[in-house]
Symmetry: C2
Subunit: 223 residues, 2 copies
DNA sequence: AGAATAGTGTCTGTCAGACAGTATCGC
DNA sequence: GCGATACTGTCTGACAGACACTATTCT
């Protein structure tokens, strides 16, 4: 028996990467190639590499770089999961993060040939997840929803320029219920997070004004 | 050179234990006996012991059991701090928790002879803290305040039975500004977190009704 | 009676939900 | 004009802050 196994815990991260696809809140899942829990769908994750990572958030970014070909605009800690039994390899500590992928970047997901990848419904993934990932995913969704319900704007899920209707749709999809147009727009008028542009989207109907995130917008700090 | 030092991070916890003393929000500090940062005031903390702890929250409880002689009614994670440079002994991961000590239990703090202990002002401790503990303390205070501002009742900081005026005072101390009596009591009337008792405190003035936490009250879940 | 603290009543401005109405495009 | 989507105006009820008022005790 290896004594380091009893003295040092395994330390790693898992990441819930969210996007909005097809009017649904989606999360990226990968099919595990190795034991333990091989062939099970799971949140992307990996072990800390002290010689590579400057922090656990750095570990999370490194792990995701393997799955997604773009820099992620927002990554945030949700909580830690720890104990002797949650991973059969030994006492483990996992820090859960979530990240947001703008909906125009979903094609940046790397289709690695050895590894199956899927955008699953965040609220009901349709698979039994590996380890305690079902619990982790629920916690990540809960945190995201709480922030949006507390009036944080999920601008990182949108392209750089977007219309207010797009924003309203994303908020409504995250919260899981319709959002009143009038009061929503009234709120945004008095928000310093948005900058209105002098550009309009021309479609089959009345053009919609484009907006962009204010330079000092941060999803982390609440209004 | 020890190779495990480069492969495994140090894993431990720190705890911000809060109480309200003398109309002030206080936090428990200990004076470090050993290097590194010996003689510096710090949040109580300790290393994970995989053979003793069932989780990192368990580590936190074990570490605090050394300082306080009672079970703590609430302990909650704040976040993690990690990186190669925050502890001179190597790459480290620390999970920060905060806990609440009822104001009638402050005498349960163990006056260990080898170790100096102090209730310091949570918002300005008056010492330069060890490691990154100033940042950690600020984050713990911020989290506590955010919850109370979001209408969570800090009942765990009060004795089992308390008056509404006591509760109002604790809330006001945590938030750092006065709270209107009338609207505060109006809110509590429609709250299911409190149970009114048929007991009154008789003092030098009009007796005040006693209340207690509802059986299903939890500081974690927001109303 | 007077001081002190507990507890209530009321007024008012603010604001969010509801929903109807108007504006501007393509066809 | 008509459909479709963008955007605005207005009404109303709920509610929180402000603050004055009443209630009950002790001395």
């Amino acid at each position: 028996m290896n004594t380091t196994k009893e003295l040092f815990p395994l330390v790693g991260v898992d990441v819930a990467l969210f996007s909005v696809v097809d009017e649904r809140l989606k999360v990226l899942l990968v099919k595990r190639a190795r034991e333990p829990d091989a062939k099970r769908w799971a949140l992307p994750g990996g072990m800390l590499k002290p010689n590579l990572d400057a922090s656990l958030a750095g570990t999370a970014r490194r792990v995701l770089a393997d799955k997604v070909a773009v820099e992620l605009p927002h990554i945030e800690e949700v909580g830690t999961y720890s104990g002797p039994d949650r991973d059969p390899r030994g006492w483990s500590v996992t820090v859960l993060f979530y990240a947001l992928l703008p909906l125009d970047k979903i094609n940046a997901v790397v289709r690695n040939k050895v590894e199956a990848v899927e955008w699953a419904d965040a609220t009901s993934p349709g698979h039994r997840l590996a380890f305690d990932h079902a619990e982790q995913l629920a916690a990540a969704v809960k945190k995201l929803r709480a922030k949006v319900a507390a009036d944080a704007l999920p601008l990182h899920l949108l392209p750089e320029k977007f219309t207010l209707t797009q924003l309203q749709n994303v908020v409504s999809v995250i919260l899981g219920h319709p959002v009143d147009k009038s009061s929503f727009r009234r709120r945004l008028k008095s928000s310093s997070d948005l900058v209105e542009l002098d550009e309009f989207v021309r479609g089959a109907q009345r053009p919609a004004q484009l907006f962009t995130a204010s330079p000092r917008f941060s999803f982390t700090s609440s209004p």
